[in-house]
Amino acid sequence: MLSPQIIDLLIKGLIDTLHMVAVSGAIGTLIGLPIGVMLAVTGRGELLQNFAFNKVMGAVVNMTRSTPFIILVVAIIPFTRLIAGTSIGTSAAIVPLTVAAAPFIARVVENAVREVDRGLVEAAQAMGATPFQIIRKVLLPEALPGIVAGLTLSAVSLIGYSAMVGAVGGGGLGDLGIRYGYQRFLPEVMLAVVIVLIVLVQIVQSTGDLIARRVNKRNLKS
């Protein structure tokens, strides 16, 4: 069985993982949500059509998204040091996780907003709504189920990404699995890490699904 020290390490790893995922997810949402909305409303034929903004912002988002995460972590070490004051440890790991999360969230939000029926925007325009009112009163509430589903997807991806930040001493469950389970040949630690991660992802996914269902009023039974 697992020794008490290993159990302690598992708990600490879980807390570190939750910490990294929660903080990078929250900041990533703060940055990604408005970018996603802007990407959606500046597209061709949309509310605030703006090709220049759309193309430039789209390119920035794609650049980050097409860089493999492990490369991104190493490549932005100077930036990480600038923001976190260090390039090692859990706090430092939050920087690349956020940099990866924000564009991901931007794309899922963009998709959710684009899914909103064009007719609703037209109806709001006919009522004399300003573009900002349309975003706040129509697009965001109507896209909410899709946004919640997208954020859940992002959180699950972040849990996966967080396993890689061990490369910069980020800590967390993934790091524990690599250092103890793989490098020290402790298969039971590896198994325990995998089980905790599976349970964690299940909880995140189920909670996300539950919230998405709650906020979705589209398929109510009469």
Binding site: A129, Q133, K217
Partner: protein, 350 residues
């Protein structure tokens, strides 16, 4: 109330082809309190035309005035203000799925910055008006199509508009629900004096509630006027193709076979008498037979109601000599009824 002058809408074709004229030189005047119908097949440009009224489509050239305000030169903020007095309802309702019935109707008021208590006072009577007071906390997904359109109507009326634009509002509904929604619109028109502009591809909608109608084809208005006149005397073939299925102006095929354009041996003239409006009740047939001693053999009769006014046609074979028939035609005309000689009926084969 609404004047469209010389409206054109031209789209540049993709790939450098000839530009597409969605609307060409449209002139329409819609009076206050009128229910004005625009009918056409899909692609005729009626939807584009309707959207020029609240400038959801801005015309390439021409002028749009609503209640004395020239819409095409307004700033973005002024246009939003002007749109508060133009309600709009849609074929697919366009209700927010995330809002309850009450909150959907409240939306335009929230957008206009009305205080919460006042919103409540405005929305409640509207829900009563459309008969949905008991559904106020339901979501659109829980409603039938007709109920959704009632919400759409209440929402369009919330900002107390002077004009209501209806974009195929009944096209997604079954016939019975369509009738109910049209009655509601007619009722609103009468009670609130609201000017309604509706587009449809269903002539039955025009017949049911419109006072005036414009027929569109290929981006042009090909015919317009009071509904009664257009139904009684459609001039353009397209108009006729719309009107014929609901107003039987013709005669049955079996009778048409006996008609000849020229008089023949033993033939009798066949007349079509049209009764319009209150004259539909004139007892002209019995007057002819009494005063002129002329027998009329009734071939075919039909009476319809357009806009609550009766419209009838009667096809008769006049069994008498030319002098009597001419006198009969004169008598019909004296009574201000329409009459035309359709042809001459040859004696049936023996």
């Amino acid at each position: 109330m609404i004047t469209l002058t010389n409206i054109r809408k031209t789209y540049a074709a993709r790939g450098g082809g000839a530009p597409v004229h969605a609307l060409a030189d449209i002139d329409l005047t819609i009076g206050r309190g009128e229910v004005f119908g625009i009918i056409g097949r899909s692609g005729a440009g009626k939807s584009t035309l309707l959207r020029t009224v609240n400038l959801l489509e801005s015309p390439s050239s021409g002028s749009v005035t609503v209640d004395g305000v020239e819409m095409t030169t307004l700033s973005a903020a002024e246009l939003r203000q002007a749109r508060h007095s133009i309600g709009m309802i849609f074929q697919h309702f366009n209700l927010l799925s995330s809002r309850t019935v009450f909150d959907n109707v409240a939306l335009p008021l929230e957008l206009a910055g009305m205080a919460k208590a006042e919103i409540g006072r405005t929305v409640e009577p509207l829900l009563d008006l459309v008969g949905l007071a008991d559904k106020r906390n339901r979501y659109p997904a829980e409603l039938s199509g007709g109920q959704k359109q009632r919400v759409g109507i209440a929402r369009a009326l919330a900002s107390k508009p002077k004009v209501l634009l209806s974009d195929e509002a009944t096209s997604a509904l079954d016939p019975e629900t369509t009738t109910q929604i049209l009655h509601l619109l007619g009722d609103i028109n009468r009670r609130l004096g609201l000017t309604i502009v509706l587009i449809t591809h269903e002539i039955a909608v025009i017949k049911e509630i419109c006072h005036k109608v414009a027929v569109m084809e290929g981006g042009l208005v090909i015919e317009q006027g009071p509904v009664f006149d257009i139904f009684a005397h459609p001039r353009h073939p397209t108009t006729r193709s719309f009107v014929d299925p609901v107003i039987n102006r013709g005669i049955p095929d079996s009778l048409r076979d006996r008609l000849s354009p020229q008089p023949g041996l033993g033939s009798n003239p066949v007349l079509r008498i049209t009764f319009t409006g209150e004259k539909a009740t004139t007892p002209v047939i019995s007057a002819i037979s009494r005063q002129l001693n002329l027998d009329l053999n009734i071939w075919h009769g039909q009476i319809d109601e357009i806009q609550g006014a009766p419209f009838g046609t009667l096809v008769v074979e006049a069994l008498g000599d030319t002098a009597k028939v001419d006198a009969a035609i004169a008598l019909v005309k004296e009574n201000n009824l329409g009459v035309e000689v359709l042809g001459h009926a040859l004696p049936a084969n023996h």
